[in-house]
């Protein structure tokens, strides 16, 4: 076997190598261009405060997008992500209300370790994920349909959860500071929420690249029939994958409520679409088999830089939607060239 990698590094820089580099890294270049352009046009954008703010918001979005991206790589899709975030948010928030807060969901809520609401939120997500996985792997319901169903169910469940007669569905407020610190506090110089996202990012990278589960997920998405013939336990792997995705949505919901200091049953609405958009912008194939965690991170950052930048630039909320939609399609059209030129 020869190794062309060693020779390609020594190749001189020329027009062709630049074009190749641009095609391969189109998405990162788009991100850099976005940051530069918005930064030049608007002074307030490139300040440390604003950048940290973007990263705080991106942290929650990244955790959710990683879950959604794993499902996409397996050749599926998870529409329940957003509503699962909402369910986890209200579950966690309801257990993290201050004992002295007036209108608690559970009036007799005892004081618990802060880990309890965190784990409860993650567990809620895990439950949804397991249901998704079982429906898809064992009942053979197509992922789009199965998760569409759970999306609606979970929204109903979250609404029922906060619906406390006679007041009806109500926002959950008065959260303990040790809980909200997850979203707003820092460990040394590092904002806690960003630290958590980084840890999740690393664990997810290891899972996708260094474990049997990860390899199997790429294989299932790359060629389901070949995976079956190769003796991959497709059912078990899919249930595990959706369960992990559910836990990530759960964690996302916990952090979302901690960051905002409360929760409502509408938390997380349409987050699944943002997560899917960020994933495909970052080069995850919606046909399955292709995608990297680094790509997902880039996709999320592009999305949040855009969100923030469009606000900073003072563009109307309606135009923001139009611009975001165009970026989704354009980014994928550029990224797909990487694969399509071979055929």
């Amino acid at each position: 076997m020869k190794n062309p990698a060693s020779t390609s590094w020594s190749k001189r820089i020329n027009a062709r190598s630049i074009r190749e580099f641009a095609t391969k890294n189109a998405i990162i270049l788009v991100l850099a261009a976005l940051v530069l352009v918005i930064g030049i046009v608007k002074n307030g954008f490139l300040t440390p405060d604003n950048l940290v703010n973007i990263m705080r918001i991106s942290s929650v979005r990244l955790i959710i997008a990683l879950g959604a991206a794993g499902v996409l790589i397996s050749g599926g899709v998870d529409l329940s992500a957003g509503r699962t975030v909402g369910l986890a948010a209200v579950v966690a928030a309801s257990l993290a209300q201050r004992p002295d807060y007036a209108s608690k969901i559970f009036p007799n809520l005892p004081y618990m370790w802060v880990i309890v609401p965190i784990l409860a939120g993650i567990a809620a997500g895990l439950l949804v994920g397991i249901i998704n996985g079982l429906a898809i792997a064992y009942l053979k319901v197509p992922p789009f349909i199965a998760t569409l169903g759970t999306m609606v169910i979970v929204w109903g469940a979250a609404s029922l959860y906060v619906d406390r007669p006679p007041l009806g569905a109500q926002p959950i407020g008065g959260l303990r500071t040790d809980f909200t610190n997850l979203g707003t506090g820092s460990v040394g110089f590092m904002p806690t929420i960003i630290l958590i996202a980084l840890i999740v990012y690393c664990i997810y990278w290891v899972m996708l690249n260094k474990t049997q589960l990860g390899k199997n997920i790429y294989a299932i998405g790359g060629n389901l029939n070949a995976a079956i013939v190769s003796g991959v336990n497709v059912k078990k792997n899919l249930v595990t994958l959706y369960a992990i995705a559910g836990m990530l949505y759960g964690l996302g919901g916990v952090l979302l409520s901690a960051r905002s200091g409360g929760a409502t049953n509408n938390y997380g609405q349409s987050y699944e679409l943002d997560a899917i958009a960020a994933s495909v912008i970052g080069g995850v194939s919606n046909m399955g088999g292709i995608g990297t965690v680094a790509g997902v991170l880039t996709g999320v950052l592009i999305f949040e830089v855009l969100n923030n930048g469009l606000v900073v630039l003072g563009i109307s909320a309606y135009w923001q939607q139009v611009v975001k939609g165009v970026i989704i399609v354009a980014a994928v059209a550029v990224d797909i060239r990487k694969y399509s030129k071979k055929r």
């Binding site: 790429y218 013939v229 190769s230």
Partner: protein, 504 residues
Amino acid sequence: MSSSEYVLEMRNISKNFPGVKALDDVTLKVAPGTVHAIVGENGAGKSTLMKCVFGLYTADDGEVILNGQPVSFASTKQALDAGIAMIQQELLPVLQRSVMENFWLGRFPEKNYGIIKIVDEKKMYADCKAVFDDLRLNIDPATKVFNLSASKIQSMEIAQAVSHHSKVIIMDEPTSSLTENEVEHLFTIIRKLKDQGIAIVYISHRIEEIFEISDEVTIMRDGKCVGTYPTKQLTPEFVIKQMVGRTLTNMFPPRENTPDGVVLKVENLTSVTEHSFRDITFDVKKGEIFGIGGLVGAQRSELVEALFGLRSVKSGTVSIDGKKVVITSPIQAKQYKMALLTEERRATGIFPVLSVLDNTIMASIGRYVHKSGLLDEKTGRRDAGKIIDTLRVKTPSLATLIENLSGGNQQKVIVARWLLTQPDILILDEPTRGIDVGTKYEIYSIIADLAKKGKTIIMISSEMPELIGMSDRIMVMCEGRVTGILDGKEATQERIMTLATQLM
């Protein structure tokens, strides 16, 4: 020669595919109102030749003359408009839609309402019905296609060809999925079309049918035209001899394996699916290369897929090393140290977007899980690299995506994948399909070497020289049943072909 004598002439057609000369200077002349059969082994170039007429392929060389005019079709639509229709071997109608919608697909009759055009469903129904009635087909144009049998769908497609006012209708293995009665019905339709002056090009490898329906026979072998004869002058023996009549040169490595002791025993195995395999009984020895021969549709792949747990069986038993086993999934098959190289490399073999490394270790990945739960990549890479080198896979690196390799090298990677599972029983379904001659020899050498090391090899092949050249014994199947098991040394292409067509 006058231009009215033949409706379709193909002169000196050649066609190359990468590494293969699929057609070599083929000439074919078809007279109107006749049935012209084209016979030959799998891969002889029959379908390729007709696809060159129908606009699916473009010939590299030679000319096609239709009604005295030279033609060259860039699309099937052009061919249909010019009066040539082809009934494909694999029928691909839109099952969820109605018969008439399929019938008129691509040419819906429309009614003009000012600037708006509306599809004229009444006309669709009436015209479709008229064609069906003319051919005495009892099909309701409004019914959904999935309600129809394979035979009815085929009749529908023939009627569709007629409705294009086709002068030449090509039928590619039209009886491969039909029952005996349905074949008779097809022949009735063909005779009726013949009376209307339509020329039928009838591609088949079923000898009996040729004698029943055709007026002229063109025999093809290895992409060449062996000859065209009036059917009346032929005997089945002569046709078979001409079909397979090539001599074996030194295409195969010497074999030094010594079969000994039964490893796998299959008794009365019958599929749950009707018209699939039934009553299959055979045994295979340790260190034996056991060939399975037969024509397309003999249910050979279905049989080995059932052995590997991919398909269900209704009855019968499978024993490995004297113990009865029930295998219902590839996961179990692997536990019994079996491996299956499937026939369709793209559909069920490769993971196109994954690396050569991942493709190689995928079936044995469980072995590379470290105590920590992480993959032991170093060992995986070392083992994969070793086997990739042994099989002489030509790849720039282990990180190269498998889809960038040639077909032959992809095949070797999948062989490597299964060898890495350290199987005792290796089932190879058409292991050299679509592979160039040089790589074929390498794969034969790998197979011979494995057998020498005491592995049990079951090899399905449609290439008879390969079967005879590689197998210790050859089981021949026809229509889902075993028609004979031959000793490799005594097997001849004629004997195999006779067994393979015995029940037709």
